[in-house]
């Protein structure tokens, strides 16, 4: 009996000690080491070429900074990336630097989780802070301080399978564009014809999958629609523009069948669709495509031409163990020379790098004309995908609400009204 009591006391003591330790983990650091510093940056790319480039920049930095013992790039799975980073922070194991997705940006930016960067960047010799495009930094700014460097601003574009269009007896994408018919209405019409004659899909909004609804901003922006107003306080899912945009999408899925319906997959890059909306970085999947393809801007909607971009930022986490060292390394990692190197894979936010020569290196499969006509205007004019604080909760509520829309006999205005009702409390905070 005595042994049992002893064991129980030991267990409770250990539990209490660990609990106190765990709780202390979130309190941050008051003093930071000045030597033997190990920096860690979480990334969602495990591409060997990307990591090799990061390592080479880190090696160059460490050669001049003996206080830095190591710089590690820690790839995490994309699907759970944000929740993994926040769990690491909660566990007292916050990375020093982290990539951040645009949909999580408002949460990170507004919470004070990121270290202000502007003063450090401006004080860094040769950084050329003014070269950063204001449109690229807007999402990552709080109280006039940049808190994350927008290291990748990737426009959404349309890839077209001209072989499949020809097989279905349809005009090529270039002919469509030349004739002034590069709009959603025509895409739907041609997509429907492709589906009925070949059995393959007309157009696919890649990664949407009837779950990740925010990818539909690449369509509804053409109708001038948005999920919430400019300051994010009022839901506009039930607006006339959004009803029209979703009516188009619903018809495409259930009436014209130009878009694969829910639960049906079609991979453009495997030759299973005539058109796909996706980010420019997916062009590398066409290296072994086996079909004739073309790159075009997003089709015109009822409001005319428009562009949408996806963004990622790199920030130094305030809960990290080495915030000062991390910020200084970030200034080096994103200086003009290294930004030019990073531009090989990630469309840069520096206006001086938005040139055909720079971007051609990043996209060897694209012609200079495609880069000049599609990629650069997309980056310069693109509206970033929608984001809001509490983005995960909003995403779940909207996904659950829109599920009722993806059936053949859906009452579209009623579903969108209900969706607005669900997220309004979150928008109001």
């Amino acid at each position: 009996m005595r042994s049992a009591k002893t064991l129980a006391v030991a267990a409770i003591t250990a539990a209490t000690a660990l609990a106190v330790t765990a709780c202390a983990g979130g309190s941050g650091n008051t003093s930071e080491p000045t030597e033997n510093i190990d920096l860690r940056m979480t990334v969602w790319s495990s591409n060997e070429d990307h990591l090799a480039l990061f390592d080479s920049i880190a090696d160059a930095y460490m050669a001049d900074h003996p206080e830095i013992a190591s710089i590690t790039f820690d790839p995490l799975p994309f699907d759970d990336y944000t929740s993994t980073v926040t769990t690491q922070i909660a566990g007292g194991n916050a990375p020093d630097l982290a990539w951040i997705l645009e949909n999580a940006a408002p949460d990170f930016v507004s919470s004070g989780a990121l270290v202000p960067l502007t003063d450090v960047f401006e004080a860094t010799d040769g950084y050329e802070y003014d070269d950063l495009a204001p449109s690229a930094t807007e999402l990552w700014t709080a109280d006039d301080q940049l808190v994350a460097y927008p290291f990748s601003t990737s426009p959404f574009v349309v890839f077209a399978n001209d072989d499949l269009l020809a097989q279905a007896g349809q005009p090529t994408s270039a002919e469509l564009q030349a004739s002034g018919d590069w709009n959603w209405e025509k895409i739907d019409e041609i997509g429907s014809a492709v589906h009925s004659s070949t059995g393959k899909a007309g157009f696919v909004v890649r990664d949407f999958d009837y779950l990740n609804w925010d990818y539909l901003s690449t369509v509804w922006n053409g109708w001038g629609a948005a999920p919430w107003n400019a300051d994010g306080t009022e839901c506009t899912f039930a607006s006339d523009e959004m009803v029209d945009a979703f009516t188009f999408l619903h018809d495409a899925a259930f009436t014209s069948q130009s878009m694969p319906g829910p639960g049906t997959t079609a991979d453009f890059f495997a030759g299973e669709a005539a058109f796909t909306v996706t980010q420019i970085s997916r062009a590398n999947l066409l290296a072994d495509g086996g079909f004739t393809w073309n790159l075009l801007p997003l089709p015109e909607g009822p409001v005319g031409e428009y562009s949408v971009t996806g963004q990622a930022g790199i920030g130094a986490l305030a809960n990290g163990a080495n915030t000062a060292a991390a910020t200084e390394f970030l200034a080096f990692f994103t200086n003009p020379e290294n930004a030019a190197q990073l531009a090989e894979y990630f469309p840069p936010p520096r206006t001086s790098l938005l040139t055909v020569d720079t971007l051609a290196g990043a996209n060897p499969l694209l012609t200079p004309e495609q880069i000049e006509d599609v990629v650069i205007p997309g980056i310069e004019n693109g509206e970033v995908r929608p984001s809001h604080t509490d983005s995960a909760q909003i995403a779940q509520q909207v996904r659950a609400g829109l599920d009722a829309l993806w059936v053949a006999d859906a009452d579209i205005p009623a579903v969108l009204e209900t969706t607005c009702g669900n997220i309004s409390p979150l928008l109001e905070g």
């Binding site: 267990a11 709780c23 909660a90 989780a113 639960g263 659950a400």
Partner: protein
């Protein structure tokens, strides 16, 4: 009876003056120490991975933790109040109940049916036992992803149905079929384990009893319900407890197949609490939901344990 003074007066006077001091590490103590060393890994594991998390969950339930802002605030019973006013909790508990009941009914009845069939001396019966058991050792996520493809609108299941002229539903996207699909995928994954347990129990039923009953004119059905079932009732209790507790912990299948949809029709309690804690960063509320789950499992397990006296054979 009076005890000798050396015994009755306790440890202080146990050693007579001038006698040699007994070694501290006696045989009894050495045996005890060896026992503790043997159980130490398990004990440390329980402390670190069961008791500490359990204690922390109760601690966190009284706090609100904004991970990104780095604030950790005592909120008292606010999370409990939120639990009772959460409009999504009722549908989540309903989905959890439907999943658990469906899984228990289908899993146990199919496992028992398979065990009875494969308990006979058929040609190739060993191969069938292996086939039905093999999903148990397959990676859960891989198994679920494959089923996800099969259950697509243009997937393998509807392809087979189309061959016989049936236009199959969109299994994972329609409210009526999504939950059934998740249950079936889970049943096929784990039915082999219960089948093996039932097989072992069936092989422990004395043949003489069954033959004696047949000699007395009992039908196969009577032999099964009056002799076999009572004798394997302890195994039925075991599989029932394991299956119910397992059904309340399902997460990966929901995450891969439906993400809780359509709507929140397949959002079970574990999926909901993981969402709250790790996706929405509401660790306090997530912990409160975890306590709710703990209480549900505790109540169900205790209830089953008490009910065993009523229906488990040779229990007092």
């Amino acid at each position: 009876m009076a005890l000798p003074s050396s015994v009755s007066s306790g440890r202080a006077s146990a050693r007579p003056e001038g006698a040699p001091r007994k070694p501290w590490l006696t045989y009894a103590r050495r045996d005890a120490l060896a026992g503790y060393v043997f159980i130490a890994p398990q004990l440390i594991g329980i402390v670190l991975f069961v008791l500490v998390p359990l204690g922390l969950i109760f601690y966190y339930a009284f706090h609100e933790w904004n991970v990104l802002a780095g604030t950790f605030t005592f909120v008292g019973l606010e999370n409990v109040d939120r639990l009772f006013s959460d409009p999504q909790l009722a549908p989540v508990l309903t989905a959890t109940g439907v999943f658990s009941i469906g899984l228990v009914i289908f899993n146990l009845s199919l496992a028992l049916l398979l065990a009875v069939l494969l308990n006979r001396r058929w040609r190739g019966v060993t191969a069938f036992r292996t086939i039905f058991f093999s999903p148990v050792v397959v990676s859960l996520v891989a198994w679920t992803i494959v089923w996800g493809f099969l259950l697509q609108d243009n997937g393998g299941i509807n392809g087979l149905l189309a061959v016989v002229g049936i236009d199959g539903p969109n299994w994972l996207r329609e409210g009526g079929t999504a939950m059934a699909s998740v249950i079936v995928v889970q049943v096929f994954k784990n039915v082999g384990l219960n089948m093996v347990l039932f097989l072992a129990a069936l092989q422990g039923v004395p043949r003489e009893l069954q033959e004696a009953a047949r000699v007395d004119g009992a039908s196969d059905r009577t032999v099964f319900t009056r002799i076999v079932l009572p004798l394997i009732s302890p195994t039925i209790l075991l599989t029932l407890v394991i299956t119910i507790v397992g059904s309340l912990q399902v997460y990966a299948q929901i995450a891969v197949l439906t993400q809780g949809g359509p709507g929140i029709s397949t959002t079970v309690l574990v999926y909901y609490l993981v969402q709250q804690a790790f996706e929405f960063h509401q660790f306090g509320y997530g912990s409160t939901l975890a306590i709710l789950l703990f209480l549900i499992v505790l109540v169900l397990t205790v209830a089953q344990w008490q009910l065993r006296k009523r229906w488990v054979f040779y229990e007092n």
